[in-house]
Amino acid sequence: MGYMLRRFGFYLVAFWVSITLNFFLPRFMPGDPVSRMVARLQGQLRPDQIEALKESFGLSDAPLWEQYLRYLGQLFTGNLGFSISRFPTPVVDVIGGVIGWTLLLGFVSLIIAVILGNVLGILAAWRRGGALDSYVPPFLIFIGSFPYFWLAMGLLYVFGVTLGWFPVRHAYGVGMTPGFSLAFIGDVAYHLVLPATSIVLVSIGGWMLGMRNTMIATNAEDYIVMAEAKGLGTNRIRTNYAARNALLPSVTAFGMSLGFLVGGALLTEVVFAYPGIGYTLLSAVQNLDYPLMQGLFLTITTFVLIANFLVDIVYVRLDPRVRVS
C-alpha cells in the first residue's frame, strides 16, 4: 500500500510540473496568436481589426505569473477557456469532438498489434529455428523501419486509389448519420482498415520480437526447470509459468503505449483525413492557440499518467515481488 501511495504522490508532482511547463513553454515562442492569424489569412485580415481581435481572444497583458495562477484556478473549476484558432468554440467542445475517433483508431491498432505480435512471438519461441522464428521477425522489423507516414501513403495509393478496395478518407461514409446501427459500425470498421493497418504494420515487429525474446529467456529460467522436474504438464507450464512471466514487459509497454494513444497518430490522421486529435494538436501549436494547447496537453498528460498508474497497479497484482521492497 505504501508503494502505491508513493507512486501516486510521485504522479501528482509529475502532473503539476508538466502542466506548468505546458503553460510556460508556448508563451516563450515568438509571436502571438493574432500575428499567427494574420500569417494564416494572408491579406484577408485588415490591420484596423487587430485590436478588436486581441480583445475578443482574451489575450491579456497581465504579468505571466498572474495569468498562470488564473489558469490553475480555472483548471480546478473545469473551465478550459475558448480556443483561439477555432474561436469561439470552447476548448472542451473542440477536444470532445475529436478525441473519440483518435481513441478508436489508436486503441484498435494497438490491440491488434499487441495481440498479433505477442501471439506470433510466442509461436516463434515455440518452434525455435523454424521459419516463423527465423524469417518473420526480421521481415516485420524491416516493414516497421519505413517511416510510418510513408507506409500510410503507400497503402492509401495502392489499396485505396489504384485498387479501390478501401475508402480513402474520413471515419465513415459521408452522409451517414452516426448511431449504433450495424450498418454504421460496419462502415466505421471499413474505414478503419487502412489507417489501422499502417499503424499495425509499423509496430507489430517490435511486439513480436520482444515477446519472442522474453519467452526464450523465460523458458530458460530455473523455476521452469523446477516445474518440469516436479512433473507438471507442458501446457500448464506454458500458461501459468512461462507466458505469465513473459507478459510482464509487454504489460509495461502496453500501458505506456495506451497513454500515448491520445496524442494521436498525427501523420496517419493527416494522410487519411481521419477526424482525430493529432491534426488539432499540430494546428493548435502552429497557431499558438494557448487555451487549446493547454487543454490538449492536459488531456494527454492525464491519460498518460492514468495509464501508467493503472499499469503499476496491474503490475503489482501480476508480480508480487514488486510489493516486497
Binding site: S145, F146, W207, N213, A220, E228
Partner: protein, 346 residues
C-alpha cells in the same frame, strides 16, 4: 512514433527477465565480466545478422562520404525538365522542379545519417549520464533525476518538437538539439534500471570498499557491464533520430534548405508526386530510411544474440522443452553468476 522506434519500450521489451525491486524490468544477467566491450565486438563480427547490418551501414556511410564524387550533378539545380520517369540520363528520374532524384538522395544521405547518428550519440550520452548518476549517487539525486526524466517522458513529443523548432534558429544544429531534448528520457529510464541492477552487485560494493572514486566506479566498473544495453539503446536512439527527423521535415518543420531524405519526401508530397503517379520521387527516400533503420535493427539483433546466447539461432529446429544448446556450458544462470563472483573476489 512506432513502438519499434521507441527506444525505451524497445529496450524494455528486449529485457527478458523478472522485474527488479523497484518495479522496473531488469536486464538479462550480464555476461561474465571482461575488459571493456571486447567480447561484445568480437561477438558482433561473428554474428551473421549484425554483419549484414554493418555492411549496409558502411555502404551508406561511403555513399554519404563520397557524395560529391558519385552524385550525378548538383541536386539543387532547378531545371525545366519536371517529373521525368527513370531514364538513362536520370537513373531515378526527376522531381517536379526538374531536380535529379538520384543526386538528391545521395546528397540526402549526408544530412540524414549525420543527424541520426548525432542524435543517437548525444541522446544516449545524456541518458547514460543521468542513468548512471541516478543509480549510483542514490536517494536525492535519484529522486530528482527520475522526476525530470518522467516529466520529459510525459511531455507530448510532437508539440514539443514544433515549439522548439520555432524557437531556435534554422539549421541542422537546431534539429539535432530538438530531437535530443525529446529523445533522451527514454534511454535514461532504461539505462537507469539496468544501472540499478548492477549497482546491487557485489563487485560494486567491493570497489567502494577498496576506496575507488565514484566516477571511476561508474565508468570503469558499472559501464562495461552495461555494454550490451548501452549498445541497444544507442541503436534505438539512432533509429529514433532518423525517423523523427524525417517526420519533422515531412511536416515542413525541419530545415528546408538542406537536402535530406525527409525534405525529399516533403517536396514529393507538396509537388503532388503520388497524385501524378511520379512514384520515383516518393519511393527512394523511404526505402533509404528503411534500409538504414533495418540495418541498425540487424546490428541490434546481433547484440542481443551475442550477449544473450539463448537467443542465438539453434543449429536445428527445437521445441521449447529442449534446453537451448549454447557454446558455453549449459550451467544455469545462477551457477554462472556464482562462478563470476568467485572470479571477481579473487
Amino acid at each position: 512514433m512506432s513502438l519499434a522506434q521507441n527506444p525505451q519500450a524497445m529496450a524494455e521489451l528486449d529485457l527478458g527477465s523478472a522485474p527488479g525491486p523497484d518495479g522496473q524490468p531488469q536486464a538479462a544477467p550480464p555476461p561474465p565480466r571482461k575488459r571493456g566491450g571486447g567480447g561484445l565486438l568480437r561477438g558482433l563480427v561473428g554474428n551473421s545478422k549484425s554483419v549484414a547490418g554493418i555492411v549496409i551501414l558502411i555502404l551508406f556511410a561511403l555513399i554519404a562520404i563520397f557524395a560529391p564524387v558519385i552524385s550525378p550533378g548538383d541536386p539543387n539545380l532547378i531545371t525545366g525538365m519536371g517529373s521525368q520517369p527513370p531514364s538513362l540520363e536520370h537513373w531515378l528520374g526527376t522531381t517536379a522542379k526538374g531536380q535529379d532524384v538520384l543526386a538528391l538522395n545521395i546528397w540526402g544521405s549526408r544530412s540524414s545519417l549525420f543527424v541520426g547518428f548525432s542524435v543517437g550519440i548525444l541522446a544516449m550520452l545524456v541518458g547514460l549520464l543521468v542513468g548512471l548518476a541516478s543509480a549510483y549517487l542514490g536517494r536525492w539525486v535519484d529522486n530528482l533525476l527520475s522526476l525530470i526524466t518522467n516529466v520529459f517522458l510525459l511531455l507530448p513529443g510532437l508539440p514539443l518538437l514544433v515549439i522548439l523548432a520555432a524557437f531556435l534558429p534554422q539549421g541542422l544544429g537546431t534539429v539535432i538539439a530538438v530531437l535530443v531534448i525529446t529523445g533522451w528520457a527514454g534511454s535514461a529510464r532504461v539505462l537507469r534500471s539496468q544501472a540499478m541492477s548492477i549497482r546491487g552487485k557485489d563487485f560494486v560494493g567491493a570497489s567502494q570498499v577498496t576506496g575507488e572514486s565514484p566516477l571511476r566506479i561508474m565508468f570503469r566498473e558499472m559501464l562495461p557491464n552495461m555494454a550490451s544495453i548501452v549498445m541497444s539503446t544507442f541503436l534505438a536512439c539512432v533509429i529514433f533520430g532518423i525517423g523523427a527527423q524525417a517526420g519533422l521535415e515531412f511536416l515542413g518543420l525541419g530545415d528546408l534548405s538542406t537536402v535530406s531524405w525527409g525534405t525529399n519526401l516533403y517536396w514529393a508530397s507538396n509537388d503532388g508526386a503520388l497524385l501524378t503517379g511520379a512514384w520515383w520521387v516518393f519511393v527512394p527516400p523511404g526505402v533509404c530510411i528503411a534500409l538504414v533503420a533495418f540495418a541498425l535493427a540487424l546490428v541490434n539483433y546481433g547484440v542481443d544474440e551475442t550477449t544473450n546466447p539463448r537467443l542465438r539461432r539453434p543449429r536445428r529446429r527445437t521445441t521449447p522443452d529442449e534446453p537451448t544448446r549454447v557454446a558455453a556450458s549449459a550451467k544455469s544462470s545462477s551457477a554462472r553468476a556464482a562462478t563470476s563472483l568467485k572470479e571477481q573476489s579473487r
